[in-house]
Symmetry: C2
Subunit: 147 residues, 2 copies
């Protein structure tokens, strides 16, 4: 069930994605919210850090567990502009993320393509929040790359 | 095909795993080797860092890409004492790791349980190097925890 605040927090994830775009990174952003507070933010930094693990979600999860002082994020929601990849889904499973809200689908590398499920069994997911805006940010990025 | 040097490097991964054990972390270790040189090492640090993403492989991959000055590890082999989880397999896929050599199987969370494959199509895998030693380190750790 999509909630009223979901669009608001997705706009925060989109802000992160735009920071990535400005830094010439694939524009994906994420925020982790716990009890109406953003406790972790991240945007893709794989180029700048030369690190294939530096996805938006990974950075936001690490920031959130640091803020919480604990490894588990059962009471939290992550908002991410694009469907997480298997690496990030695996990280979300270890963190036992309560809820995952994402924007655009990733029909090539999205976690939902794999079975059995890569997520923790208690994690709730919601797809398609501001999907057009989230997706067009990425497609524009790659279109500009090709020109 | 298991090579002569595989046991030698797996012993280095086991050294890392033992450091984790001493720090009361689940004892899993990894090293990344490129042209007969160890360019990244890591052991599980999830408890100490309060970070569910701080697996041995993730730390070793980040160290190796830092050492290489590039995001891809096609010419490298990672030695890891236990079969990687989906998060780490996803990271190994992004890094396009050339070869993965692991010790003990993980019949609960190992990447090989999932389909389609979580690895890069060009990655070669080898299981079972020093499997007993690698596996008993973990099972002893949990046996001591229960006592």
């Amino acid at each position: 069930m999509i909630m009223e605040e979901d669009e608001r927090y997705m706009r925060e994830a989109l802000r992160e994605a735009r920071i990535a775009a400005e830094e010439d990174e694939v524009p994906i952003g994420a925020v982790v919210v716990c009890r109406s507070r953003i406790i972790g933010r991240g945007h893709n930094m794989t180029e700048r850090l030369n690190d294939p693990t530096a996805h938006a979600e990974m950075i936001a999860i690490t920031a959130a567990t640091e803020a919480m002082g604990g490894k588990y994020l059962n009471d939290c929601t992550i908002y991410v502009t694009v469907e997480p990849c298997p690496m990030c889904a695996g990280a979300l499973a270890w963190a036992q993320m309560g809820r995952i809200v994402y924007g655009a689908l990733d029909p090539k590398r999205g976690f939902s393509l794999y079975s059995p499920s890569l997520l923790h069994p208690k994690t709730v997911t919601e797809a398609g929040v501001l999907a057009d805006e989230c997706g067009s940010l990425v497609s524009e990025f790659f279109r500009n790359k090709r020109n």
